[in-house]
């Protein structure tokens, strides 16, 4: 049996290793997985507070051992293990573990005002990659999910949609001319004068409220609400069934402005007074 210098549960390690080897998993991968399971097991038995310093130690010197051979499993931890780290932990139950002294906070040296020169004899290369043993790697397991390639599936869709919109715009522009009335004349106010359609809701509000309310407070409130919406709505679910209130409120807000805009566009005539568009005509230009 291998002697364990690491904080592993040896029984678990051997059991998982053999299971994996029987499944045909390659030895290197199997060892890594077994070691991880054994570490978790060990930490569970010995309490979590030991886990942090001890777990960090082996990863420091383990590069060679990991790459070399399965037999080298004992080698890595020795040089880096902190004093008092349990060797063959199962043999010393209840041993007093000396906690390492609290490390001095890392403080950068005061600035010297000079660019430091390279140390003589320093290597002119530095390592970008280091081999890290499996237990030193934080494993993040994430569902791959049902994913498709952007190319070609999404790109084809985007290309099609923009071709359709371009074609529709060209056809529409062939048959419908953009409005152009006579030259601007500051002395001749057309009746009615209407704002562009996206401001017609506000112009409609102007009939009911003081200009300060309709022109300043309402739009400020509207965009203020939009800005804080994601921070105000703390409901984590995005399922429509779970957010009836938000949907109802937002829909009411949209409907409110849509109805005002439609009234302002089609039901307001000369003097911005009410008209019926089917009998009096439409006083609205885009």
């Amino acid at each position: 049996m291998v002697e364990f210098a690491e904080n592993l549960n040896p029984e678990t390690f051997n059991r998982v290793l053999n299971e994996l080897l029987e499944q045909g998993v390659s030895r290197r991968v199997a060892e890594g997985r077994a070691r991880r399971v054994a570490m978790v097991e060990y930490n569970r038995e010995h309490g979590e507070e030991e886990a942090a310093p001890a777990a960090a130690a082996p990863s420091a010197g383990a590069g060679d051992g990991e790459a070399a051979a399965p037999a080298a499993a004992t080698a890595p931890a020795a040089p880096a293990a902190p004093a008092g780290a349990p060797v063959a932990p199962a043999a010393v139950p209840g041993a007093i573990v000396v906690a390492p002294p609290p490390a001095a906070p890392l403080v950068a040296p005061p600035p010297t005002g000079k660019v430091p020169s390279a140390k003589p004899g320093a290597p002119d290369k530095h390592r970008l990659l280091a081999l890290v043993p499996p237990e030193g790697v934080q494993r993040v397991e994430r569902e791959q999910g049902d994913r498709v390639n952007t190319f070609p599936h999404l790109l084809i869709q985007e290309l099609l949609s923009l071709i359709i919109v371009t074609a529709a715009l060209i056809v529409f522009s062939t048959f419908v001319n953009a409005p152009l009335r006579e030259l601007a004349n500051p002395n001749l106010t057309p009746n009615p004068s209407k704002a562009p359609w996206y401001f017609l809701g506000l112009q409609e509000l102007l009939r009911y409220f003081h200009p300060m309310v309709a022109g300043v407070i309402v739009p400020t409130l509207f965009f203020g609400l939009l800005f804080v919406l994601p921070y105000a709505d703390r409901n984590p679910s995005s399922k429509p069934g779970d957010r009836k209130l938000a949907i109802v409120l937002f829909t009411m807000l949209l409907m409110f402005f849509m109805i005002l805009t439609i009234i302002g566009a089609f039901f307001r005539g000369p003097g911005f007074n009410f008209v019926w568009p089917w009998s009096d005509g439409v006083f609205f230009d885009l």
Binding site: N177, L183, A184, P190, P196, V216, L226, P236, L286
Partner: protein, 260 residues
């Protein structure tokens, strides 16, 4: 004596030679569908996305439900496309337009008349620009609605919603500023109505802001020049910056939201 001439290369061979050339290979990176040796495999499909400038916009893979037309209705993408279309048509219109109100009985208005009657495809391009602008306001609004109803503004996407609201504001400003440029009765008085709110805002702020924006007490030649510069330069610059942030955040926040 019979002279043996080399057989001239076929067009296919010439094309192959071009595709093997250093210049071609420097333009089309490995994985490009135009590069020699592209195979329709998983690997090359991934590379086609990853080694393309579009990688700034799209990840290599996306959730399958993101392809569903009824999830996004392509609204965000179409808004961006309309912005590009408006930029292209707008640049063409800029060649023939001078934002001067007081010269030659309304130079700006005369230029619009010229665009409509004398410029090649002028009327068509102006129509596309006008209708495309209205359509962009609509798609941006609808995009906001879509994002709300799918709950796509929820963490971690809160900030991107805020960027989106800014984009909506800039879109409205772009549309509004463009509305003034034809300098006809419609645009002049729509603008007068639209900016009249300023005089009612809190005293000390509103009237001053209105004066700055109009370049005077009322809509005039200065206003036209000011809003022309805003329309063709300042606002497109602002919207481009926020578009970049918006698209970057989509990818950083984990791509398409959902599924519901």
């Amino acid at each position: 004596m019979k002279l043996k001439l080399p057989r001239p290369p076929s067009p296919g061979e010439v094309f192959d030679k071009v595709r093997e050339s250093e210049a071609w290979r420097s333009i089309f990176r490995p994985g490009s569908v135009f590069r020699k040796g592209y195979k329709d495999t998983q690997r090359d499909r991934a590379l086609a996305a990853m080694n393309n400038v579009l990688y700034h916009l799209h990840p290599v893979k996306l959730k399958r439900h993101g392809l569903k037309l009824t999830y996004t209705f392509c609204l965000g993408g179409l808004s961006f496309f309309l912005f590009i279309l408006l930029t292209v048509t707008g640049i063409y219109l800029m060649f023939f337009y001078r934002p001067a109100a007081e010269l030659a009985a309304g130079q700006a208005y005369q230029d619009i008349e010229t665009i409509r009657n004398s410029v090649v495809f002028g009327d068509m391009v102006r129509n596309i620009h006008r209708w495309g602008a209205h359509l962009m306001v609509i798609t941006v609004f609808l995009h906001m609605g879509r994002v709300f109803y799918t709950g796509a503004y929820k963490p971690p996407r809160e900030f991107n919603w805020v960027v989106g609201v800014i984009l909506l504001l800039v879109t409205l400003l772009l549309a509004f500023s463009g509305y003034l440029l034809p300098w006809d009765q419609l645009s002049f008085w729509a603008f007068t109505v639209g900016t009249s709110f300023g005089q009612y805002s809190p005293p000390g702020i509103g009237p001053e802001v209105q004066f700055i924006l109009l370049g005077g007490a009322e809509v005039g030649g200065e206003t036209l020049l000011r809003w022309y510069v805003l329309h063709v330069l300042a606002l497109p610059f602002v919207i481009t910056i926020f578009l970049a942030v918006h698209f970057w955040r989509i990818r950083k926040d984990g791509g398409i939201s959902g599924p519901l």
